[in-house]
Amino acid sequence: MSDARKTPIISVRELSKTYDLGEVRVRALRGVTIDVMPREFVMLTGASGSGKSTFMYLVGCLDRPTSGQYWLQGRDVSSLGPRALAHIRNSEIGFVFQGFNLLPRTTALENVELPLLYAGAIGTKQRRARATAALEAVGLGDRLGHYANQLSGGQQQRVAIARALVNNPALLLADEPTGNLDTRTSIEVMGLFQDLNANRGLTIVLVTHEHDIAEYGERIVAFRDGRVQSDHPVTTRRAAAIELARFDETADEDAVSA
């Protein structure tokens, strides 16, 4: 375990990305150097346009850098071809989007099964069992047959998290996962991330522009104009489980006083 601690799970050097929009060239990322160690819970913050999302897409192998190096679990990923990157997306990284990105008119179970379909020879029964287990892990064991549009926003995001977890990746990336959720549901989802980080040993990198959400992590990396502006540990970390209990108490009091 101590050896694993020494090798960063994510290691990027001078990573940059330039979008060529015809007349304009947008330098979204201008040389970012960061290490993320296993089991870390890192929050990326910054204003919109600061490059934090671009960075996430590069780390998630959803996009390719213009220059710079990226080692994922000690392996140089920046030079890999599209097929190898597809394999990494499938088995080594789980990605959670702000807009959930569930397949419409499809059940929660089938949505979670999706990465398993592309994972090679997995039988129908085993696929079903693993997807069910992943949904139970995010507390949706009783919603397997529900369609995406029959679920609340928080539930949809938890389906998306189950989908990210179903191939047992070591790294979970989340791009503004609470951006479309109300306060209570946001706390719920952050509680789920904290639980996965603490109890399943997942490394989590999460993008958010809300400072209070960032305090659920243990390290905050702030982006500005395509560069890392600051990188510091969270001094007073928030615990979602406790806050949730308190939140429900106040809600009950409100209900009584009303």
């Binding site: 390719r64 599209p82 597809a86 499938n90 592309y118």
Partner: protein, 406 residues
């Protein structure tokens, strides 16, 4: 990645977008069915016109007395008396490939029965005329070679002449009809044939042996025409040439002089009709082509309209680890399944509608394999191309670009 998994993914995608699937299939179904029905009706019309020509006798050659050319003194048909029964006999004897032959000599006369009378065309012919014209009898029998030899006073009535003299549907066989004050025995009635291609009523007529017209009605030696039907497979232009050559020798016509006869075939008429049906087939084929294009555009529209949604779907699939080939195979299978099932339903519908048109409207409709293959091929081709091509573009994007596609 195994084909069974790809197939499962594709079928799930088709089921998830049931409306789009149905609309795309509908485009293919309508395109295929419309082409099949249109071409079937066209082919049926052509076949029925061809069979009408055949029933009129497309293998018939007519020799008529008189000149068709532009001589110094042109005489009308029938005014020339050089064509004789001996010529007819010589044609039969010396020209190969003749199946039936009938000399002809017509006159117009009043027919007088017991209670009524009627003015009609009296056609003197040989005994083989019904065989030449493929003309069955309703009652009795046509006159025989013996009747012709004896110049017998026997009479076969056309249906309209019979109606006028004896009343509709009556069987007058054995009755007596007087022509120019001579008693003729009615021995048969021809079945109704309707109007000829040029409009004249073929049933307002009466047949007697041509010898009878020569000796008993007109008192002449010549005949007006010879009608010949060729054996199957005999080239009519060859037959025409041989008959003309023989008659020129017999009539001692010098090279360069005007013929005193004309040899013509029904082919000339048939070729006009054939070109008419060809025009019609082209017309129907272009209607079919238009319906195929319309159906194709329908397929294309549905496929292209859903590109945005599908590009995002592709982005999502790529982001959870699908390789570009996995996505391409999925879309290919989807497009092929859609095209095959839509095409099959379209073919079935095309057959059904062709059959329905044939029965209800009493048209003939002939489903041609070319129409089936062409329509199916084009519709399936369009379906596969427009299902596959946008997917190919999307699958080559970075996952994040496909996910954020607008």
């Amino acid at each position: 990645m195994s084909w069974s998994v790809i197939f499962v993914i594709a079928m799930k995608a088709l089921r998830r977008n049931a409306m789009r699937t149905a609309l795309t299939a509908l485009g293919i179904i309508i395109g295929v069915a419309a082409v099949i029905v249109m071409v079937a009706i066209g082919a049926g019309a052509q076949a029925s016109i061809e069979s009408q020509i055949r029933s009129a006798g497309s293998n018939i050659v007519t020799v008529s007395a008189g000149s068709g050319g532009f001589g110094p003194v042109r005489q009308g048909q029938g005014a020339v008396t050089t064509l004789t029964a001996d010529d007819a006999a010589a044609i039969r004897r010396e020209v190969p490939g003749i199946r039936y032959l009938s000399p002809g000599l017509n006159t117009r006369s009043q027919l007088v029965a017991q209670t009524s009378n009627w003015n009609t065309q009296v056609q003197g012919t040989g005994a083989e005329l019904p065989a030449i014209r493929s003309w069955p009898l309703e009652f009795g029998a046509f006159f025989t070679e013996q009747h012709v030899t004896r110049a017998a006073r026997v009479l076969v009535l056309g249906a309209v002449a019979r109606d006028q003299l004896f009343g509709a549907a009556a069987d007058p066989t054995g009755a007596t009809v007087r022509i120019r004050n001579q008693p003729f025995r009615v021995i048969g009635v021809l079945s109704r044939k309707g109007q000829a291609a040029m409009g004249q009523d073929q049933d307002d007529t009466a047949f007697v042996p041509y010898t009878t017209v020569q000796k008993r009605l007109l008192g002449v030696q010549h005949i007006m025409n010879v009608t010949v039907s060729a054996e199957d497979g005999v080239a009519l232009d060859m037959l025409t040439e041989q008959i003309a050559a023989l008659l020129r020798v017999r009539h001692r016509i010098q090279p360069g002089d005007q013929d005193d006869f004309m040899v013509r075939t029904l082919e000339e008429m048939a070729s006009v009709l054939t070109s008419t049906t060809e025009t019609m087939t082209w017309l129907l084929a272009s209607i079919a082509a238009v319906s195929l294009v319309v159906g194709g555009i329908g397929i294309m529209n549905i496929m292209l309209v859903s590109v945005t949604e599908r590009t995002r779907e592709i982005g999502l699939r790529l982001s959870v680890g699908a390789r570009d080939v996995d996505v391409l195979m999925q879309f290919l299978v989807e497009a092929v399944v859609l095209s095959l099932s839509g095409g099959t339903i379209g073919i079935a519908l095309g057959f059904g509608l062709s059959y329905a048109v044939a029965t209800i409207m009493e048209w003939s409709a002939v489903v041609t394999p070319q129409a089936v293959m062409l329509s199916f091929g084009v519709a399936a081709g369009i379906g596969v191309f427009f299902g596959f091509y946008p997917a190919r573009k999307a699958a080559s994007l970075n996952p994040i670009d496909a996910l954020r596609y607008e």
